[in-house]
């Protein structure tokens, strides 16, 4: 790809938007991967139980908190 095409500010903005979306998708994929193992422990049913559903939801939210905590700890503010 000719690098001069990247001087187009509209193209840059569109690429940046796709980059943000891709990063969000990657986070969702990673968390689903992790939380599936934590929350879907027994056999697979034809729907999730209420506890499985809330486990998955809690798992995602707690992960965000852990991420924040580890960053704060690492940078010396806890």
């Amino acid at each position: 790809m000719d690098a001069s095409a990247l001087n187009n500010p509209r193209l840059k903005a569109m690429i940046e938007e796709e980059r943000t979306k891709a990063m969000a998708n990657e986070l969702v994929a990673k968390l689903t991967f992790l939380c599936w193992d934590k929350c879907v422990t027994g056999s697979v049913g034809s729907s999730f139980s209420r506890s499985e559903t809330s486990c998955l939801s809690n798992c995602a939210k707690r992960f965000s908190e852990v991420k924040m905590m580890t960053m704060q700890r690492f940078t010396g503010r806890s």
Partner: protein
């Protein structure tokens, strides 16, 4: 992502940004779908095929169908928990 950038259309200064973006979006979507399929395949193999036999049993097959549906549902639950809940 080297193979990704080398497969973009060669575009000069007059290239149409919308066409370039459509190509980028299509390739991103395809890469995402491939990765998703691989992940789901692995997870559901772990879940459903505990003792591999000489062929997939009926219960293993239906387990895999349910597992794929559940994994898609789980993706939605995680996505909403991350991006649409307000504290």
């Amino acid at each position: 992502m080297d193979s990704f950038s080398s497969s973009l259309p060669s575009s000069g200064p007059g290239a149409n940004p919308d066409a370039v973006m459509e190509q980028i979006k299509a390739q991103l979507a395809q890469a995402y779908a491939q990765e998703f399929l691989e992940t789901v395949g692995n997870k559901c193999f772990e879940k459903c095929v505990t003792k591999p036999g000489s062929s997939l049993s009926g219960s293993e097959s239906s387990c895999i169908s349910r597992c794929v549906d559940r994994y898609i549902e789980a993706t939605g639950i995680v996505s909403r928990a991350l991006f649409s809940s307000q504290r």
